[in-house]
Symmetry: C2
Subunit: 448 residues, 2 copies
C-alpha cells in the first residue's frame, strides 16, 4: 500500500469560551467563562485534525504565529513541527510568557504580576514555569496525530504504542464554590463552603459519573477546615482514594502538619507548598507521597526534583508537556527515576478529553485516576459532536475509531466562538475576579 504525503495546507485557530461555575482556588475564583483555543489542521490530501489548548491572549498570539510556519510539513514529521514551533514560540508575541500557566490556579498572569512580591512580567517569581514552546506545540502535535490516525484508520492510542487499557479512570474533582456567580442566580450545584456541602457535592458527582477516586481543590480555607472536609469525605466514601491540592498555599510547617493529620487518609498530597526546595522539606517529613503539577512542569526541572527527592508523583499534562509523544517520554522518565505518574487537568472541552484518554490508555505506568474538570462544564458547551465520550463507572472508554475519535461540530464551534467574543474575557484572571468580591485579597503563598 503506497501512502501519499499529508502536508499541512491550512491551520485554523479559534478561541472559544464556555460557561464555568464560580470554583474557588487559592488565587481566586473561576470567572463566568473559561477560555480555550481550538486548533484545526487541514492537509493538502483533504484530511483534518483537531487540537485543544489554552485560550489566553498571549498564547493565542503565539499559536497564530506558529500556525503560519507549518505550511507544507508532512503530518508524520512531528519533529519538524516541533522544530518550527520552537523557532518562533519563545520570541515576541506578547512578552509575558506565563499568562496561560500550567497550573489552573496560577493561570492568572496579571494579578500575580500586580502582586508586590512578584515581578511585573508575570513570569518571575512564579512557582511554575512550563516551557512556552511545548505549550504552543501541543495542539498542533495532537492534530497531526489525529490526522495520522485518520489516514491509516487507527486510533491515536495505536500511534502511541497501543492502548494497555480500554477504559481510563478519572477522579471526582471537588471544588469549594460559591452558590453562583455574583449577581446571578445560584447555579445547579449550589454552594460548597464547608465539609457538609462538599460531601454533598461529592455524593452527587460520584453518583452521576461513578468516579472511584476523589480530589479536593484546597488552599481556599484554613487548613483545619480542609482537613475536616477530607475526613468527612473519608467517612462518606470509605473506599475511594482521596487527594487534596492546595496549589502551594501552605508553608512547609503547615504542609507537614496537614500531612501528619492525613496520614493513612490520602493517597497523595498535591503541591502543598511552592518550589522544589520546600516540597523536598515536606517530603522528608510526611508519610504520604507528594504530587506536583507546579514544581515539575518541564523536562529541565526533573533532574533537580529527583536529586532533591522533592516529589514522588508527577501529574503529567499533554497541554504543557508538548503533546502526546512528549508526555509519553515524561512517563518513561518517571518510570526510569522511580516517580509515580498521574494526570493534571484544566477546564477543558471534548478534544482535550479525547486526547487525554488516548494518552492515558497508552501509558502503562499511569498509576492513578486522572484529573478532569469535565463535570463542571455544561453538557451543551462543547465543540465536538456529542456521544463519542461518556463516563461509565468513573471511566471513559478509549475511542477505537480513527484518530482521536471525535468530530468537530461547526455550529457549536461558532456558538462558543461567539461566546468568546461577547464574554469580554481574554485572559484568565481568577485573582482579579475574586478581588471584586474582596478588594484586599492577596494570593501570595504561603497563605497559611
Amino acid at each position: 500500500m503506497a501512502e501519499y504525503p499529508h502536508r499541512i495546507q491550512d491551520v485554523r485557530v479559534t478561541p472559544v469560551a464556555f460557561r464555568d461555575p464560580p470554583l474557588l482556588n487559592t488565587v481566586g475564583v473561576h470567572e463566568p467563562f473559561a477560555l480555550r483555543a481550538i486548533v484545526e489542521v487541514v492537509t493538502d490530501s483533504g484530511l483534518s485534525g483537531l487540537g485543544e489548548t489554552y485560550g489566553d491572549a498571549a498564547h493565542l498570539a503565539r499559536l497564530h504565529k506558529a500556525a503560519l510556519q507549518l505550511t507544507g510539513v508532512d503530518v508524520w514529521h512531528t519533529q519538524e513541527v516541533a522544530r518550527r514551533v520552537a523557532a518562533v514560540a519563545d520570541t515576541g508575541a506578547g512578552g509575558h510568557g506565563m499568562s496561560e500557566l500550567a497550573s489552573e490556579s496560577f493561570n492568572a498572569g496579571r494579578p500575580r504580576a500586580a502582586s508586590p512580591s512578584l515581578r511585573g512580567d508575570g513570569m518571575s517569581g512564579m512557582v511554575t514555569g512550563s516551557r512556552t514552546a511545548d505549550r504552543v506545540l501541543s495542539p498542533f502535535e495532537v492534530a497531526c496525530l489525529d490526522i495520522q490516525g485518520k489516514a491509516i484508520g487507527r486510533p491515536v492510542s495505536d500511534l502511541l504504542g497501543g492502548a494497555v487499557r480500554d477504559r481510563v479512570d478519572y477522579s471526582a474533582y471537588l471544588f469549594y464554590k460559591w452558590a453562583g456567580h455574583p449577581g446571578a442566580e445560584p447555579d445547579e450545584w449550589g454552594a460548597a463552603l464547608d465539609p457538609d456541602q462538599l460531601v454533598a457535592q461529592a455524593r452527587r458527582i460520584v453518583d452521576e459519573y461513578g468516579f472511584t477516586a476523589i480530589k479536593l481543590k484546597g488552599g481556599v480555607f484554613p487548613p483545619e477546615q480542609e482537613v475536616a472536609a477530607i475526613l468527612a469525605l473519608r467517612e462518606e466514601f470509605p473506599d475511594h482514594p482521596l487527594r487534596i491540592d492546595p496549589n502551594g498555599a501552605w508553608s512547609v510547617a503547615t504542609s507537614v502538619r496537614v500531612g501528619e493529620e492525613l496520614d493513612g487518609v490520602i493517597e497523595y498530597l498535591e503541591d502543598p507548598t511552592t518550589g522544589i526546595a520546600g516540597m523536598a522539606r515536606v517530603a522528608r517529613a510526611v508519610p504520604m507521597p507528594l504530587a506536583t503539577n507546579m514544581c515539575v512542569v518541564a523536562f529541565d526541572q526533573v533532574r533537580t526534583a529527583v536529586e532533591e527527592d522533592a516529589v514522588q508523583v508527577v501529574l503529567s499534562d499533554h497541554h504543557f508537556w508538548g503533546g502526546l509523544n512528549r508526555s509519553r517520554v515524561l512517563a518513561s522518565v518517571c518510570d526510569t527515576f522511580g516517580l509515580g505518574l498521574s494526570m493534571h487537568s484544566n477546564s477543558h472541552l471534548g478534544i482535550s478529553l479525547a486526547a487525554m484518554t488516548h494518552l492515558a490508555a497508552a501509558t502503562p505506568n499511569l498509576g492513578y485516576a486522572c484529573d478532569t474538570h469535565w463535570p463542571w462544564k455544561h453538557a451543551a458547551d462543547d465543540v465536538v459532536v456529542p456521544g463519542a465520550l461518556a463516563f461509565v463507572r468513573g471511566a471513559v472508554a478509549v475511542p477505537t475509531g480513527p484518530g482521536l475519535g471525535v468530530a468537530l461540530d461547526r455550529d457549536a464551534l461558532a456558538r462558543l466562538h461567539e461566546q468568546y467574543l461577547s464574554c469580554g474575557i481574554t485572559e484568565r484572571d481568577d485573582t482579579g475576579y475574586y478581588r471584586r468580591h474582596a478588594t484586599d485579597f492577596d494570593p501570595t503563598p504561603p497563605r497559611w
Copy 2:
C-alpha cells in the same frame, strides 16, 4: 481509509554466522565468525517485518520462547509485545543472562565466568548489565515497526516522528588486528599492531567509505602505544574528530593520565575504566567528555550516572535498549539530563544498519557520528538484498521506502544459516579464542 489489524501469525528466528576478521579488544579477539539472529514476523494480513539481534545460544533460546508468546498481537500494539516479552524473558532459558552482553568486548560470557575474579553465572561482577527483556524485545519491536511502515507506505523514520536528517554519519571504526586468523592466510586488511599500521588501516577505510570521524578500539596494548596511535591519527587526519575506547581496561589513574595526554585531541573518551564510581572519578579529572556503552546500558542506571556526573555522552544501541522507540526515550532522557548522545555498534548485518539509520535520522540530539562495524564484514555476507544501503562520504542515506527499506534475501539467509551450523560457534568467546594464542591471558580489568 479503514485499516484492518495486522496480527502476528508467525515468528521465525534464524541464527546466522558471517566471517569476521581477527579484531583485537581488551578481552581477546574476534573469532572467525560473528553470530546474529534474524527475526521475521509475519502477520495474518500477509505482511512481514525484519529484526536483527545477537546470536548467542542463551539469547536464541529466549528469542524462541518470546516468539511463542506473540501470536495474535496487532503489530501496532508494541507495548503489548513488550509486556509479553518481559513476562518470559527473565525466566529460565539458559540462566546466564549476559552471554550476549551489550558491549562487544564483554560479549564473552564463558571466559569471564571462568575468570577467578568473577562469579560463575557470567553476570555477577560484570561491568555492564543491560536488561534482558529489552535485549529480547528489540528485534520484535523493530520487525513490528517494519510492518507498520509497510502497512502504511511510510519509512520507519516517519513512525519515530520523522527524519530530521536525510543522511546519517558513521565513524571509521579502527581495530588493532592480527594479519589473519591463526592458521589461515593473512586477510585483505593485514596486520594492525602499531601506530603506522593503524594509520594505514584508517587511510584505507576513510578513503573507501569517506568517514569523517574516527574511533579506535583500544585496551589492547599499553596505553602509551595507544596514545601514540591517536597522535599519529591526528597528524594524518587533522580535521577528523577522534575517539578511543579501551572498554574499561584502564585504572582510574591510567585513565586520568591518558585523558590529560589527549587533551584537545579526542572528542570524547569512551569507557576508559569500569563502573560508574570509577568513571565519575575520571570525569572530574580529565578535560574531555566521557562516553559509555558499559556503565549506562539500562534506564535504571541513568539516575546514578547523572547524580555522580560519571558520563557526559551515552552511546545508545537499540539492540539492548529495547528497540527504536525506547532508544528515542533514551535520547529524550539524555536531552533532559544534559547528556550527549552517540551510537554504539556490534558486528552486524544490513537489517541492523537500516534500523540504526532510521533511528539516528529521527533523533535530533544525536550529536556524533555513529559507530558501525560495517567495513569489517565481507560484502557478500549479508541477509538483505544488496543496494539499499550505501556509504557516501561516510554517511548512509535514510531509506525512504516503506518500513526499514531492506528486503530479506532468502538464499543468503540460508547460506549464512548453514555457515552458523557449520562454524561450530554458538556463543561469542573472544577470550577463549585469544587464549589459544596466549594461554595465560587474563582480561580482568584494569589491565593497565
